[in-house]
């Protein structure tokens, strides 16, 4: 399976934890597999990562709808407890480094471009294709994301 690691890495950095990432990636690979015949002309990795991103979004929305619906058991409390900030979830993992924690504090639109650029080493063009944002937006988000990350690392106890 091509780019499964890339898909999983992005899912892990977008989602709250490992179990969510597993679900997102399974959903994404199935959708990718089913729509591969309709896939035209673009590079595979950004295409797949765009699907991962959409699956992440639908999982979030589903969760919100679920949380908003009246519940007759303690699911509500469960979901509220399940929904910590990314920072908190990174810390829950324990082993996460200062750096990982700092990245997790970035708002999602900055976090994803930083991950795709710095860890996935994708071109601006591919990041634009994966995130559905124009290249100019990718560039400004990347600049902002890096500045935020630098500030977060400088403000933390360990610095960069």
């Amino acid at each position: 399976m091509p780019h499964l690691d890339a898909a999983y890495n992005l899912a892990r950095w977008l989602a709250r934890g490992g179990a969510e990432a597993d679900d997102i990636v399974q959903d994404a690979m199935l959708r990718a597999f089913r729509s591969f015949d309709g896939f035209r002309g673009e590079a595979v990795r950004p295409w797949l990562l765009a699907i991962v991103r959409n699956c992440h979004r639908s999982a979030l929305e589903q969760k919100k709808r679920h949380a908003a619906a009246p519940l007759d058991d303690d699911d509500g409390a469960q979901i509220a407890a399940d929904d910590p900030t990314p920072e908190a979830s990174a810390m829950e993992r324990g082993a996460a480094s200062e750096l990982d924690r700092a990245i997790a504090t970035l708002p999602e639109e900055f976090r994803e471009v930083v991950i795709l650029r710095e860890l996935e080493e994708m071109s601006y063009r591919d990041i634009a294709a994966a995130t559905g944002a124009p290249i100019g937006t990718v560039m400004s988000r990347l600049a902002r994301g890096r500045a935020l990350l630098k500030a977060e690392l400088a403000g933390g106890s360990h610095g960069m």
Binding site: P2, L4, D5, W13, D37, M139
Partner: protein, 250 residues
């Protein structure tokens, strides 16, 4: 305060600019203090990010997805004829042979699509100046040995300058997951990318076109080859004939 050129400088630092724009940014960097600071931050960030966690897919998840896609693949022959009614109609009357034809179509078409898409994508990328040439030379004695160290295959790399197709260099690229050698020619204002990769016994389409680029496929010795260009189709055929004839028969 950030310089107005900061995004362009960032693009330079990210290796996104072509040679001419890079020279402009380098000149700008000599006197812009903000951009110098940006360059230092960029290097620090790059070094720091090497320590960030890259989450690789766990083996259990990989296995689970494999099983899931296998199960999904088994239902494809039932589902797909709905999409291509032509094959279904043929199958209902003509029995086994038509069904075999339909299955052949199902098995081979996606692979070919992927190859065609990869080639079109690689060709467009090369034209956008991202990655046209790794070794620039019009001398096949330079280009040919270069591939020995940079590619799994040894493609034909003759110069056909007398026939109007000038060898300009070569590069390493990927086609459908295989390492491919690409020999680059110019014909007038057009670029021809000649892709060569190890023959995996896949069926090739013969000719295809995508995004306005024509592709001619053939097999030669143990290689799959594809010539991709927007050059006039007759000229591309002439080029392919030249390449075929240039190969010593063994």
């Amino acid at each position: 305060m950030a310089c107005d050129e900061a995004l362009k400088t960032q693009a330079y630092l990210d290796g996104e600019l072509d040679a001419a724009q890079s020279l402009e940014v380098e000149a700008h960097l000599e006197h812009c203090v903000e951009c110098q600071a940006l360059a230092a931050d960029h290097a620090d960030m790059k070094a720091a990010m090497a320590g960030a966690t890259y989450h690789r897919a766990p083996a259990a998840l990989r296995a689970k997805i494999n099983d899931m896609l296998d199960a999904e693949a088994n239902v494809v022959p039932l589902k797909t004829p709905r999409k291509s009614g032509f094959w279904l109609g043929a199958g209902s009357g003509a029995g086994g042979m038509a069904i075999a034809a339909a299955l052949a179509f199902l098995v081979f078409a996606p692979a070919n699509n992927a190859v065609v898409a990869d080639l079109a994508d690689a060709h467009v990328r090369s034209l956008m100046g991202e990655h046209l040439i790794d070794v620039a030379s019009s001398d096949h004695h330079t280009v040919k040995p270069w591939f020995a160290g940079h590619s799994d295959v040894s493609p034909p790399a003759e110069d056909f300058k007398a026939d109007g197709f000038t060898l300009v260099g070569g590069r390493a690229d990927y086609v459908h997951g295989s390492r491919a050698a690409v020999v680059v020619y110019r014909h007038g204002a057009h670029v021809i990318n000649l892709f060569a990769w190890a023959d995996h016994d896949a069926r090739l389409p013969g000719t295809s076109s995508r995004d306005g680029y024509r592709m001619v496929f053939w097999k030669q010795k143990d290689l799959d080859l594809a010539a991709v260009s927007d050059v006039d189709p007759a000229e591309l055929d002439r080029f392919v004939d030249l390449v075929k004839k240039s190969q010593p028969r063994e």
